[in-house]
């Protein structure tokens, strides 16, 4: 009895002492809140928060690396409790739901072979990428359904996944598990900033649209009679549907697959129809707004581009204010187009919609005169978007602006310099482009006291118009170099970042460097889209919005053909406004400001069809027009009358609802 007691007691004592000492020696402080948070989390370990499990997320939440609302599966109540534990301000989260992006199930799509193996997409994909002809088609074997931790997915009768949006928490498990990347999370924000990529199902019209509207989706909504939904789909990419519905150059209709058998679907008139319906109702349909975000954004320029950017940023949750130099919003819309094609009340209607959404406006405020980038940052804005865009501002405003007018800190147009206008020249000048006139500019800079003058050329030495003997002392030429960023403080430019570019116009890895520059002279005739963001108290830097699919050269600001928009079509201005919004959204979220690497560009090869079979030719529904008599009496009346509801739905039925290679086939016998 005694020895047992002693031996075990001794052993216990040694181990107990060991443990006790170890617990001090190897003491690692664990925040008790981590445990508390972990207990509250649902423990589904779905990974929707982006961490490898609930406990990892709990730790990240307490550390402040993750938001209390990062758990997609937790109820609002639980999120509230977690926020109380960590004492964090609760950031509301925009709901996201899974959205399958494949329109035709295996029975309707073209198939390479018939698969009868293991009922799992991950297995099926091993055999030549699955049975569908289309490389990105849904295999419909329900891997996502099995993976869903919340039972929100099922496979429908057409063997495509169906999402129960009530149950879907947007955890993204399906997105991660789908071997084809077909099911993706979606929300209004994600739709706004979306660019079409090669690994998703897109229709030809969609790819052709400069604004990137999901055309088949809104036509389907019209066919189903859900006009409000159609408007939301359109307005996610284009806040001027009523205007565009009348004056758009509709590249989409040229791309329409129906051209192969009869006439294109009346895509644009259908857009007009829903806006007519909206105007008849007298109420603007708005894209739901994401939860309020902190950042305040000033948009310079109340034209189509600036208003589009402001509206979409507002829908993304930001606080936006448009600063317009004139007394009227809308810019070129008022001048370029005859009233009988674009009635004035239509312009007003779209602008009213944007203002109703909560975009603030300040008229008669000119950048460089009444306000400046520095002053806007002082007012507390986090970013300033330059969307002076469409018309050549300098030409138009030349009489209104005083000498020395300077909208962008330290940036001047070369034309002003050579015209010998009073431009303050600092000691370090950078001249961008301008061919041989850059030499003259360099000379002027030197005359006016610049110590160092750099001339930046994108071309190589051989291709440039500059000869060795032209160069003065103190002027250096940088070939194959582009300006990528400007940095400064208040209204002063202090530094620029340049990089070298390759023959193909791509950035050379690791060639970025900073140069002290206080004056930039731009050879172009106008200023491009540019975003200034505040870094801290009063210093700032620029980010250049990423270029759309049509741009050939992407690197650098003040590059040829860089201004994303010009005055050839409103829809292009809208598209570039949206890309500015998307660029800023990515910047604020810490993502790279660039389009997805597999974005569909002008020259991207996309799977397509050459002929359309099993489709009955149906003539396009003609829009009624006003009678000649009426028009003669009142020439400013709109010529076209638009579709009636039944006509619109009839026309919407003509849409083939195309995918990459799928389209709606009929049984023709």
């Amino acid at each position: 009895m005694i020895e047992g007691l002693l031996v075990m007691g001794g052993l216990g004592a040694i181990l107990g002492l060991g443990l006790a000492i170890a617990s001090k020696v190897f003491y690692v402080y664990v925040d008790p809140r981590i445990e508390a948070v972990e207990e509250l989390l649902p423990g589904a370990n779905c990974g929707g928060c982006g961490y490898p499990g609930c406990s990892a997320n709990a730790e990240a939440i307490v550390k402040g690396e993750s938001s209390p609302s990062s758990c997609v599966a937790a109820s609002q109540e639980v999120i509230q409790q977690i926020a109380e534990i960590v004492g964090a301000k609760l950031e509301l989260k925009e709901p996201e739901v899974a959205k399958p992006n494949c329109k035709y199930g295996v029975y309707e799509a073209d198939r390479k072979y018939i698969y009868d193996g293991v009922r799992d997409c991950r297995a099926a994909i091993l055999i030549n990428g699955g049975e569908k002809e289309c490389p990105i088609g849904c295999l419909g074997l329900g891997t996502c359904v099995k993976a869903c931790p919340f039972g929100a997915l099922s496979i429908g009768p057409d063997r495509l996944p169906v999402v129960n949006t009530e149950k879907c928490t947007g955890c993204g498990t399906c997105e991660r598990v789908c071997p084809k990347g077909i099911i993706k999370l979606s929300s209004n924000s994600l739709a706004i900033v979306h660019e079409y990529t090669t690994d998703e199902c897109t229709a030809p019209c969609q790819r052709a649209c400069p604004a990137g509207i999901d055309i088949p989706a809104y036509i389907r909504a019209i066919r189903e009679g859900d006009y409000a939904e159609a408007l939301i789909i359109i307005k996610r990419s284009n806040p001027f549907p009523a205007v565009c519905g009348r004056i758009c150059v509709h590249p989409c209709e040229y791309a329409c697959r129906r051209n192969l058998i009869d006439e294109p679907v009346a895509i644009n008139p259908l857009k007009r129809f829903v806006t007519d319906w909206e105007r008849e109702k007298g109420m603007h349909v708005q894209v739901p707004r994401a939860p309020e975000r902190e950042e305040r954004i000033a948009v310079i320029g109340g034209g189509v581009e600036g208003l589009s950017a402001a509206y979409l940023l507002n829908r993304l949750g930001y606080n936006t204010k448009v600063h317009e130099a004139t007394s009227k919003l809308g810019g070129l819309l008022w001048i370029g187009l005859p009233e009988n094609r674009l009635p004035r009340e239509v312009i007003e209607w779209d602008i009213k919609g944007i203002l109703e959404a909560g975009v603030q406006v300040e008229l008669n405020k000119m950048l460089g005169k009444d306000i400046s980038v520095g002053s806007l940052f002082k007012e507390g804005y986090n970013a300033v978007l330059i969307a002076t865009g469409g018309w050549d501002m300098k030409l138009y405003l030349s009489e209104l602006v005083p000498d020395g007018f300077n909208p962008l800190p330290g940036v001047y147009l070369l034309i002003d310099l050579v015209r010998r206008k009073e431009i303050p020249i600092g000691s370090n000048c950078l001249i961008i482009g301008g061919g041989r006139s850059s030499l003259e500019a360099a000379k002027i800079c030197k005359e006016r006291g610049a110590k160092n003058v750099y001339i930046l050329f994108r071309s190589s030495k051989q291709d440039s118009p500059i000869r060795e003997e032209d160069l003065e002392k103190g002027v250096s030429v940088l070939f194959q170099t582009a300006l990528t960023k400007m940095m400064g403080r208040d209204d002063k430019l202090e530094q620029v970042e340049v990089c070298e570019i390759t023959e193909e116009g791509k950035e050379k890895e690791g060639s970025r460097r900073n140069i002290e520059i206080d004056t930039v002279i731009v050879g172009a005739g106008r200023f491009p889209e540019l975003i200034y963001v505040r870094k801290d108290e009063n210093s700032w830097e620029t980010i250049s919005p990423y270029a759309g699919p049509n741009v050939e050269q992407e690197v650098g600001i003040f590059r040829p053909g860089e201004a994303i928009s010009d005055y050839k079509a409103a829809v292009e201005a809208i598209g570039s406004g949206r890309r500015m919004a998307a660029s800023l959204y990515n910047y604020f979220r810490g993502l790279p400001v660039e389009p997805p690497s597999n974005m569909i560009r002008k020259d991207t090869e996309v799977l397509d069809v050459r002929e359309v079979v099993n489709v009955r030719p149906v003539p396009r529904v003609k829009m009624a027009e006003r009678s000649k008599d009426e028009l003669i009496n009142n020439p400013s009346l709109e010529i076209s009358l638009g579709y009636t509801e039944s006509e619109a739905r009839e026309e919407a039925k003509r849409c083939l609802q195309c995918g990459l290679i799928c389209y709606r086939k009929e049984k023709l016998n």
């Binding site: 047992g4 031996v7 617990s23």
Partner: protein, 202 residues
């Protein structure tokens, strides 16, 4: 510091109490466990050797100290007299030690029977030293004055076909047992003189 002390004390007290409690249980079950072990491990063999005895040799056992080890001697009573004893010894077999229980008549100094208790020989071959009754029977009645050897080594025991090494192991075990018996004989006789069986049947 108080935390550490608490931690330390908790583990110590718990293990000490458990240790004590177990010692208690152990001491109260010890005798029975030993009996059970003997009964199940050696019981069947012992019964075979001491066929016709009037007592339970497992209960009627005593121990003699040899150096550090204790040897257990089982006593068999025949005709009211403690005539036979059995003791265990080991010999090296093919796969390990073979335990053999050897029964000896203390009056005539002849073997009354042997039996294998533990072994790890190949089933169906070497293991037959335990199961084959004719092999065991060869030892019966032989005097302990001789040394046992298999015929291959020039002895008197027929080895089991294909299991010479195992058979040799048994012989060695028997020799060891006899050697042990010879060494302990005076002590055994002394103990047997005043032997009182607890399980004697008439």
């Amino acid at each position: 510091m108080r935390d550490i002390l608490k931690l330390f004390l908790a583990v110590t007290i718990f293990s000490a109490v458990s240790g004590g409690l177990l010692s208690l249980v152990r001491s109260s079950t010890r005798a029975r466990i030993e009996y059970q072990q003997l009964k199940f491990v050696k019981g069947p063999t012992l019964k075979e050797i001491m066929k016709g005895c009037q007592n339970d040799p497992i209960t009627d056992r005593f121990k003699i100290k040899v150096g550090k080890k204790e040897e257990t001697i089982f006593v068999g009573i025949f005709n009211g007299q403690p005539r036979a004893i059995a003791l265990e010894a080991f010999g090296k077999g093919f796969h390990g030690p073979i335990g053999v229980l050897v029964g000896i008549d203390v009056k005539t100094n002849k073997i009354i029977g042997i039996g294998v208790t533990t072994h790890s020989e190949t089933p169906g071959v070497g293991a037959r030293v335990k199961t084959d009754p004719t092999f065991r029977a060869q030892f019966k009645g032989l005097p302990i004055t001789q040394t046992f050897k298999v015929k291959a080594d020039g002895g008197q025991i027929d080895a089991i076909t294909g299991a010479t090494i195992s058979s040799r192991g048994v012989c060695n075990a028997v020799n060891n047992a006899i050697a042990l018996y010879k060494k302990l004989r005076p002590e055994i006789l002394k103990r047997l003189k005043n032997f009182k069986s607890k399980t004697l049947r008439s």
